[in-house]
Symmetry: C2
Subunit: 413 residues, 2 copies
């Protein structure tokens, strides 16, 4: 069954690669119209998922992510229209040069082929992932969480109908309806049909995919993001940035989870930071030096420095030097987003050079790591690995290239 | 032991990322000098490998790849000097834009970090891989074949000495001296320390790495390359190109392994091709239609069409249409290099668009798929996957990017 689905997706990807931008945009608009027109039916399917989830004691925050409302439908449809408005990267010839033997060698941007997405119970991901993959000429195979299965079946059914109405192969989108874990593992080994696997979800899901997949994976998401308050920090910038990065939204991967503070500013800065955070009900877990400076700071364990809390908790470490700060961050960071607060030019440049993360900031909140904020329009995730794509992934991350070579009878000597 | 080695490599990679181009080039020249100066010692170590290999009845062709001579040393040293002459891609800022909120967001080219290379018994790969990784600021961890272990130990020792003489961390290169398969498997799971794994060798080695590694892998090499003789082919081009692509060098991944011939030209073309190939002792294994046209063609099995012979054998299939040719090639190809021979403009363009391979040629030999031939200077391999790098991989394939963001107190609304 899974192999048959893979074959159909691969077949669809061949024709999708030849679709023009106008055809793709028209189809996306049709999908948007069909989703709005069928909102009641899809919301009914979603109601079943919500009831089942409540029966399974799903937490309020997860229930909220699972729930589809008329308002969310409008957002989803608006999301599709935004993807329509983005420039189509497919077909661009990045370079073309004539070699001494007369061969004309060009590098052309092409779709990847078939993209697999493994995600948790967020029905909006179903539509987002489809629209980004479709715009870049890729077929998509979705494997969503079991909690979301009725919503996903309804969404994919409607999207397929819209594609058929546009005379496009409905295998451009497929859903793996069997949500067994064993099936997910088989899916991760379909190298012959799936070109790329993107996991979207919590750290556990991502780890499972990285450890089990033989298909190339782009690792996304986990963010143990740091802010380093340098000895030359302007605290009028540091405090609002820390507040924003930690508290503006708790459950996101670009939230700040760990503070690093230079000893020469710690006596002044830490009490101010501690007060600001405790005024916002945020707990600080610090090393010995931090605890000595401010009595409201509780003692951190080694594990704290490696933890992505996604909650009103932050770790804090006092360092003796700039180099110690860099070493600490490179050691504990997940390579997502880190910021320095400093007015010192050389330290700013050194931090940008030496921190080994996808996004490195000077005097700004880590919360900006996001496809919309970076001006990419929409994102399929944030890559924390170094291959293919690093940082927020827009449409370009869903493309590959091929060499096209125009000859005139050339043979190799 | 392996974890310790990974830690040291990661540590070295941090300082290597900050080396300037001049420092890197000077160190590479020093390595080249040291290798030449220590050639006798290294050749003695190689002699032991050669004796052991003979005792193990290694084939002549593999013995030839294993053997180091004074001439090969000159070639290796010349290879390093060529890498020195290549432009250093590290540090280039690919784009930098100011966002409406004043954030200045740039994308900068950086090293990948630590690159693992798993390869067979070719000591020249030891030096090639090091010089390409070093030039791009990456630490390298090598795991060569057991047949080559004495040569590799000697080579790596000398390279480390040259690095120390330049005040560069010798952990820029490390060799896994234990050649147990179990150790190789552990190596493939060192995600914390190794950022990328590149297997270089035969199909079996590559499959093992793809199936076992949890580290991101770039799949290289296997080439079941096709040439399609279109009904509009100029046979004066077709014959020399087929001869060159099949016979100029047999054991290479860009050699042609399969012919596809349009039925409207098959009666004329096949006997000419068959004669040319049999004059060169090359066997043709064809489908029923091909066998009917030329009695010298032997019957092919289904498996033949999927086989990378690397020998004087080629498969041949007669197709009824252009579309059947494209479907056949996309089905059996390994996504490496394919060529069409045609004088028809539309068929040439359609072939370039519809064939899903790293390199697609019109009227030229597939043998050009090679970093030197493409003008990249040197290559670390030829990628047949679609992520990160596709086709011949030069220095750029060994780089990543990071976003550097200059702020002035910005927080997210």
């Amino acid at each position: 069954m899974l192999i048959d689905l893979g074959k159909r997706a691969k077949k669809a990807s061949r024709t999708m690669a030849t679709l023009g931008t106008t055809e793709k945009n028209n189809a996306l608009l049709k999908v948007s119209d069909y989703l709005i027109a069928n909102a009641d039916m899809i919301i009914k399917a979603n109601d079943i998922d919500i009831e089942n989830a409540k029966a399974n004691n799903m937490s309020e925050s997860l229930l909220d992510r699972l729930k589809l409302t008329k308002q969310r439908f409008d957002d989803i449809a608006e999301g599709i229209r935004q993807v329509v408005s983005l420039e189509d990267p497919i077909g661009e010839v990045l370079s073309m040069k004539e070699r001494p033997n007369g061969l004309l060698i060009g590098q052309k941007r092409v779709p990847i082929g078939v993209i697999g997405i493994i995600y948790e119970s967020r029905p909006n991901v179903t539509v987002d992932a489809f629209s980004l993959c479709f715009k870049t000429g890729n077929a998509v195979v979705l494997r969503g969480g079991s909690d979301c299965i009725n919503s996903n079946i309804a969404l994919v059914k409607v999207i397929k109908e819209a594609l058929v109405a546009c005379d496009i192969d409905p295998d451009a989108i497929n859903l793996i309806e069997n949500t067994d874990r064993e099936i997910a593992k088989q899916f991760m080994h379909l190298n012959q049909y799936i070109d790329l696997l993107i996991p979207r979800g919590g750290a556990g899901l991502i780890k499972t995919v990285v450890e089990n997949a033989t298909i190339p994976v782009i690792e996304t998401g986990t963010g143990n993001c740091h802010i380093f308050v340098d000895e030359y920090a302007d605290l009028d910038k540091a405090l609002p940035i820390i507040k924003n990065a930690k508290l503006q939204r708790l459950g996101v991967c670009n939230a700040c989870e760990s503070l690093v503070i230079h000893k020469n500013i710690a006596n002044k800065a830490l009490p101010m930071i501690a007060k600001m955070l405790s005024d916002n009900d945020c707990e600080i877990r610090g090393d010995e030096a931090a605890c000595k400076i401010d009595g409201s700071i509780v003692k951190a364990t080694e594990e704290d420095f490696a933890t992505e809390y996604l909650a009103k908790i932050i770790s804090a470490k006092v360092v003796d030097s700039f180099d110690e700060a860099v070493a600490h961050i490179n050691n504990y960071s997940t390579g997502h987003s880190e910021a320095i607060i400093t007015e010192n030019y050389s330290n700013a440049q050194k931090f940008l050079n030496e921190i080994d993360s996808a996004c490195v900031y000077v005097n700004a909140s880590t919360r900006f790591t996001d496809g919309f904020m970076f001006g990419f329009g929409a994102e399929i995730g944030i890559s924390t690995q170094k291959l293919h794509a690093r940082g927020p992934m827009g449409l370009l991350a869903l493309t590959s290239t091929k060499y096209i070579i125009y000859g005139n009878g050339q043979i190799r000597e």
